[in-house]
């Protein structure tokens, strides 16, 4: 049998994990705020979106599900989205893989910027001490990010999650942006 697998986004302090078919980086902790709470181009330096937490969730695994990885669209997203000086879409990674986080932390920020994943005070506890963030361009279908190397047995479950964030430079071009695609991959039998 083939497992039924979905991508979920975590929101709220609980959190609530919801199946999603798209996401929008914004300035609130919401999986789909529409065009409300848009990211803001700062006057100087960089601003950020609230970070996003995404994971795989599944049911109906016959024997085993494992080897969970994630990758972006390839190319140069900071150019595609015209994110300006210092701008990019970044993904958090630990000092050593696998890089998925198993301790959820709600995204926070202000009306003008999300908190930096790496901020020593308000950053993400999974990554801020010994982790880092890198451009999502680093991870492609040929070089995916190792998210979770746990071997999950039959039935239902969910994976560790990937944390991503948009960084916007002062000279970024405002406006609605071309969509980009994120892909999760996994082995199952």
């Amino acid at each position: 049998m083939v497992a039924t697998v979905n991508v979920q986004e975590g929101n709220g302090s609980g959190p609530t994990w919801s199946n999603i078919t798209n996401g929008r980086y914004c300035l609130t902790d919401s999986k789909d705020p529409g065009t409300s709470f848009p990211c803001i181009v700062p006057v100087s330096g960089v601003a950020r979106s609230f970070w996003k937490s995404h994971r795989l969730s599944w049911s109906g695994v016959g024997t085993q599900l494992s080897n969970i990885k994630w990758f972006g669209p390839g190319g140069t997203v900071k150019n595609t989205w015209e994110l300006g000086t210092g701008g990019d879409v970044v993904v958090a990674k630990k000092a050593t893989g696998p890089h998925g986080c198993d301790t959820y932390q709600q995204a926070t920020g202000t009306e003008t910027t999300g908190h930096d994943i790496m901020d020593s005070t308000n950053g993400h506890a999974c990554y801020k001490t010994s982790g880092s963030v890198v451009s999502i361009d680093t991870y492609t279908s040929a070089n995916p990010l190792d998210v979770d190397n746990t071997v999950y047995g039959s039935g239902s479950g969910s994976s560790k999650h990937v944390v991503t964030q948009v960084v916007i430079g002062y000279d970024a071009v405002q406006g609605d942006k071309t969509d980009i695609t994120f892909t999760f991959q996994y082995d199952e039998i």
Binding site: M1, V2, A3, T4, V5, N6, V7, I20, T21, N22, G23, L56, S59, G60, G62, T63, Q64, S66, N67, T80, V173, Q174, G175, D176, T178, D179, T181, F182, T183, F184, Q185, Y186, D187, E188, I189
Partner: protein, 218 residues
């Protein structure tokens, strides 16, 4: 401008059917196959872990009677996994004695958005490139249109920041934004794919895709 016309099944997120099934030969010469070849009943894999297999096979579904049997049995299940005939070749991997190997399916879950043309129904992905301004239906040429509250339908001035201004209002020094009429409807899509993988531990990985076979040195 870069556009890619989509097959409706590539946007629906439906669970895909299987094209290949596994076969394993143990070091004692015992053969296990994913389905009972007489009845079509699905079996569990003897072990999902690396083992000392004599050989691994991914076998394409070809025989219509066998496909029918498998699908009949699957249709009785709560979460059926249907199978389809496949033009892919049979892939047979023979590890050296002592090499550990395993088979697995590799799932891909891709989330994206696309446009659906309200005039001709074509679904397509649009990626903005250097000289692009707006998406255009690759089949009938339909675009979104804009209207000015004063001048009606206009061909707007598209600004870099995403604003669309009325050219007539611009001329008289009174900039006015236009209303977009969404002839191209933005929709969400999910694409699920399955690749069929055989791995010889620390040596080589064979990944069978829809239209190619990729062999990676590990």
């Amino acid at each position: 401008m870069r556009q890619e016309i989509l097959n409706p099944k590539d946007t629906s997120g439906e669970v895909v059917s299987l094209s290949l099934f596994w076969g394993l030969e143990s070091e004692l010469g015992e053969v296990s196959v994913q389905y009972d070849l007489d009845t079509g009943e699905e079996r569990k894999i003897p072990t999902p872990d690396f083992a000392n297999w004599n050989s691994l096979i991914w076998i394409p579904f070809r025989d219509p009677d066998f496909i029918y049997k498998v699908n009949c049995l699957q249709s009785e299940k709560d979460n059926p996994t249907f199978v389809d005939a496949s033009p892919l070749p049979l892939v047979h991997i023979i590890p050296k004695n002592g090499e550990l190997s395993r088979v697995t399916r590799r799932g891909f879950l891709e989330f994206f958005t696309y446009y659906e043309c309200s005039a001709c129904g074509t679904s397509f992905k649009w990626t903005r490139e250097d000289d692009d301004i707006v998406p255009v239906c690759p089949k009938c040429g339909m675009t979104n249109t804009w209207t000015c509250d004063i001048h009606g339908e206009v061909s707007p001035i598209h600004l870099e920041n995403g604003e669309n201004r009325c050219p007539h209002c611009e001329k008289i020094g009174s900039p006015r934004g236009c209303n977009k009429i969404r002839n191209l409807i933005h929709r969400e899509g999910v694409n699920r794919k399955i690749h069929y993988v055989a791995i010889i531990k620390d040596k080589v990985e064979v990944e069978i895709e829809e239209d190619k076979i990729v062999i990676k040195s590990l």
